[in-house]
Point group: C2
């Protein structure tokens, strides 16, 4: 599978989140070319403010590998990770982060606290932005339009 | 119960975490004067890089109240929360955060990204530092001394 295929799977997770009434963000975690975890936002369903797509994918992958550190694993996520998720990505020692749309209001990679550029960030993944941005952004805009 | 009693309970959680071989940090969540969740670090035991004491306490409380937002709830934690936990505290809409020792290397309240002072932080709790600092700090120092 190619990087665009992995991002398409993340987008599918985002679409499923939208159908559940959740903010449509999706993520997949890839290790040695295989998807080992996939998740969409479930904060409402689980009544858990930490249940962002990235957090659920990281927790699922870490549980599967019985490892706190996911060295060599890559995250594909449809939206720029927030401050909480950026720090979790660093703790999990992910190798690469591919994200779709940027999030000026809540993001923490190229927006906000830019956590990976901070001295209190002790592991920095490689970051690739803009992959699948158009689709991810359209999904989010459509979701919030129907909510107003 | 008084604030010092709640912090003593958080410190007990930290001591139990140390006995499990985890970095000794503990947290309790208080709602209407009652403890509704208590946790110590379990990142190793659960193989979950996100399983910090604060995260586990917030998730436990949110599950109990079946609510993403814990408005009116207060967190007592022995160490200054990290970037991940600071953002989770904000998402959970906690009212107050009491913490013991400061954490220059990994903290995100008075150290590091000082998340609650950032424009991408959309809910800011009241913060009280230094409560139980001496005990919390001694526990952490003792733990890391025996590890070297």
């Amino acid at each position: 599978m190619k990087r665009t295929d992995f991002m398409s799977l993340a987008l599918q997770q985002a679409q499923e989140a939208a159908r559940r009434g959740e903010v449509p963000v999706g993520a997949v975690l890839v290790c040695d070319g295989a998807v080992i975890a996939a998740a969409g936002n479930r904060t409402r369903e689980l009544a858990d403010p930490t249940a962002h797509a990235e957090m659920l994918a990281i927790r699922e992958a870490a549980a599967k590998l019985t490892a706190e550190r996911l060295c060599g694993c890559d995250l594909y996520v449809t939206l720029e990770p927030c401050t909480m998720c950026a720090a979790a990505i660093s703790f999990a020692r992910l190798r690469r982060v591919y994200f779709g749309a940027t999030d000026e209001k809540g993001g923490a990679i190229v927006s906000g606290v830019r956590f990976f550029s901070q001295p209190t960030c002790h592991h920095v993944p490689d970051v690739y932005s803009g992959l699948g941005e158009t689709d991810a952004s359209a999904l989010l805009k459509g979701f919030f339009r129907t909510r107003r």
